[in-house]
């Protein structure tokens, strides 16, 4: 079984993300980066499938500047077999441009499964995986929270509002992985050393024209200050009234 996992380098979300002077991007200097969380769960899913079958290959693909090699190596240190770096100056804002480059690379690869994270936590598009599926003409299951592969077919579970949906699909297929499928393993120290020796192919790509342009990036509006309506039990009637009439939550 040949599995490709597409991963994205994103800033770690628990730090302050300052907007750059250009006003259309965040200022990346001094920021910590990691593999997108959802993509880590996709890597873990790929590794578990390979381990369960006792054979196969897990190939990591990432598009971006040279910096993404650090994230590819992280996936290799978790146990993936080899990496492909699609080298571009930056990740364009048009998901279709990224999807096209990925699809061109994946198409001749003979992959049985192509895994993505459900969404990249930095730009929250959630579009790339589905677009790749479309470009390759493959079935696509998004937001997978349970997965089983058997005899060339897959069964996946998706969490819906108020229901769980079970779907079946033939391989090859494209899946986007949701939270809850697994918890990714820590790269072991030996794994980190081994990753340095695993193949990481660098392929320069020429990207298509981006039809989407970021015009402005601004911090979210400040939350309005809270209001103190009184103290102790004396304030309760007024609080209830406001919750009913203003907040309309009661």
């Amino acid at each position: 079984m040949k599995i490709a996992v597409c991963i994205k380098r994103v800033p770690v979300m628990d730090q302050r993300l300052p907007i750059a002077a250009s006003g259309i991007a965040i200022d990346e200097s001094g920021l910590k980066f990691d593999v997108n969380d959802f993509d880590l769960w996709a890597v873990e899913a790929g590794l578990q499938l390979k381990e369960k079958l006792g054979q196969g290959e897990v190939v990591i693909v990432s598009l971006g500047s040279d910096a993404v090699q650090e994230q590819i190596r992280k996936a290799l240190s978790m146990g993936a077999d080899r990496g492909i770096h699609l080298k571009a100056a930056a990740v364009p804002p048009d998901a279709r441009v990224v999807a096209r480059a990925l699809a061109d690379e994946l198409k001749p690869g003979g992959f049985d499964l192509i895994l993505f994270g459900r969404v990249a936590v930095d730009v929250s598009n959630g579009a790339t995986g589905a677009m790749v599926a479309q470009l390759l003409g493959l079935p696509c299951v998004t937001a997978v929270s349970k997965l089983e592969i058997k005899d060339g077919r897959g069964r996946a579970q998706r969490e819906l509002e108020g229901a769980q949906e079970m779907v079946e699909f033939p391989l090859p297929a494209v899946l986007t992985i949701d939270e809850g499928l697994n918890r990714e393993r820590l790269p072991s120290l030996k794994g980190i050393m081994a990753a340095k020796k695993k193949p990481l192919e660098v392929k320069p790509v020429t990207l298509g024209e981006s039809r989407i342009t970021v015009r402005r990036l601004q911090p979210p509006p400040e939350r309005a200050a809270g209001r103190i309506i009184g103290e102790g039990s004396a304030a309760v009637p007024e609080l209830v009234r406001l919750l009913q009439t203003e907040a309309k939550v009661l």
Binding site: Q15, L186, P187, S188, L189, I192, M193
Partner: protein, 390 residues
């Protein structure tokens, strides 16, 4: 930990060194921090973490891959110690003993057969070791030890004596025991002694108020027979155990830094949320001075061990440099832990917070592996050429 990385020391680390640090940091966040306060109060070492630590690869991580170890450089190894002790000195002590005091002497003084037999299983944590040098009457002056190993005609040895304050003593499968085969300190040799040998006993040392999440035991050898194959063939003289201590002290100087960072981070966070006199206490000059002093000492200690690590990797570091680093960093960490505890007010005495646990732990670290005073004398001798010992 960006606030503690005030000088962007991260930028002096390689990608691989950061990756190692990040893995161990996450292990500590997820597996150690949630349980360690309780372990400490119960006086229990969390043995359940041993296989996980083994799988992660922390034991003897700077020893070669050929023996099942990770083959990391010494800076990466130091970062592992830093992260483990950010959790608890007891966890770091376990790893220090296993790696620097048991695996290292087998690696440095052992036969090829011994290395192949022990190192891979010690790397995974299947075999646990302890290191017996200190005796009830010989602590700072191990040259005076009275434990003996008498050679017998068939090449085996008979051990008699006692060792005290032995980390992992009751947990270990094997003990590296240092004993005199003759009259003087030049006759000191190291032995790999299975702890299930007849005449070997280990007793937990009760009543500790420090390093409570660690096994500290007393070992007694009563006519313990060890085969010739258990002698570490290349060991000879007090120099051999001292070489092990240099390895362990190197790791301790990183470890203490981790404990200091944990206390500083805790104090910093608390200072911003605890409101007194209508203001976060971090807004008062007194607490700011405390935090500024802590941060300054941490940065100095970070740069010190990083440089020491680079020297060690270059093969040019000296035991005296390690003495300086152990002495400075442990002392700095004990001071920071105490100041952090004080900043936390009454909450600071609770096991729910880390500072007082670190503060108490660091008193052991201050004492073991050469007391602060002994390292002072080592440095005094290094700079004056005059020994205060003899």
């Amino acid at each position: 930990m960006t606030s503690a990385d005030f000088f962007n020391v991260d930028s002096s680390l390689s990608e691989e060194e950061r990756a190692v640090r990040d893995s161990v940091r996450r292990f500590v966040d997820e597996r150690v921090l949630p349980i360690i306060g309780t372990c400490y109060v119960e006086g229990r070492f969390p043995k359940e973490l041993i296989p996980v630590l083994g799988e992660l690869g922390v034991f003897g991580a700077n020893l070669p891959e050929a023996y099942g170890c990770a083959g990391l450089n010494n800076v990466a190894y130091g970062l592992i110690m830093q992260e483990l002790e950010r959790g608890d000195s007891g966890i770091r002590s376990f790893a220090s003993v296993q790696g620097a005091l048991v695996m290292y002497p087998i690696f440095a003084f052992g036969s090829e057969e011994q290395k192949k037999r022990y190192l891979p299983k010690m790397a995974t944590g299947e075999v646990i070791g302890c290191f017996g040098l200190t005796e009830p009457d010989f602590g700072s002056n191990p040259a005076g030890m009275i434990t003996t190993a008498k050679a017998r005609p068939d090449g085996s040895y008979v051990l008699n004596g006692a060792k005290m304050w032995i980390t992992n003593g009751s947990t270990a499968h094997v003990a590296i025991v240092w004993a005199k085969t003759g009259a003087d300190e030049a006759s000191i040799r190291g032995f790999i002694v299975p702890t299930d040998s007849t005449g070997f006993s280990a007793k937990d040392q009760k009543g500790k108020l420090s390093l409570r999440a660690s096994d500290t035991s007393e070992l007694v050898f009563q006519d313990v027979v060890v085969g010739a194959s258990q002698l570490l063939p290349q060991s000879g003289g007090l120099k051999s155990p001292l070489m092990c201590l240099t390895q362990a002290r190197y790791g301790i100087s990183w470890g203490a830094l981790g404990a200091a960072q944990a206390c500083y981070e805790e104090a910093l966070a608390y200072s911003k949320t605890r409101v007194m006199f209508d203001r976060p206490i971090g807004g008062f000059q007194l607490q700011q001075a405390r935090l500024a002093d802590m941060l300054t000492e941490i940065v100095k200690a970070q740069l010190l061990v990083l440089h020491l690590g680079r020297l060690k990797d270059a093969g040019t570091f000296t035991p005296q440099q390690v003495s300086l680093a152990k002495r400075n960093n442990v002392s700095m960490a004990t001071d920071i832990a105490r100041e952090a505890r004080r900043l936390l007010g009454a909450n600071g005495i609770l096991a729910e917070y880390a500072s007082m646990r670190h503060m108490a732990n660091l008193e052991s670290v201050y004492t073991y592996e050469g007391t602060h005073d002994i390292h002072t004398l080592v440095l005094g001798q290094a700079v004056t050429g005059l020994s205060a010992f003899n």
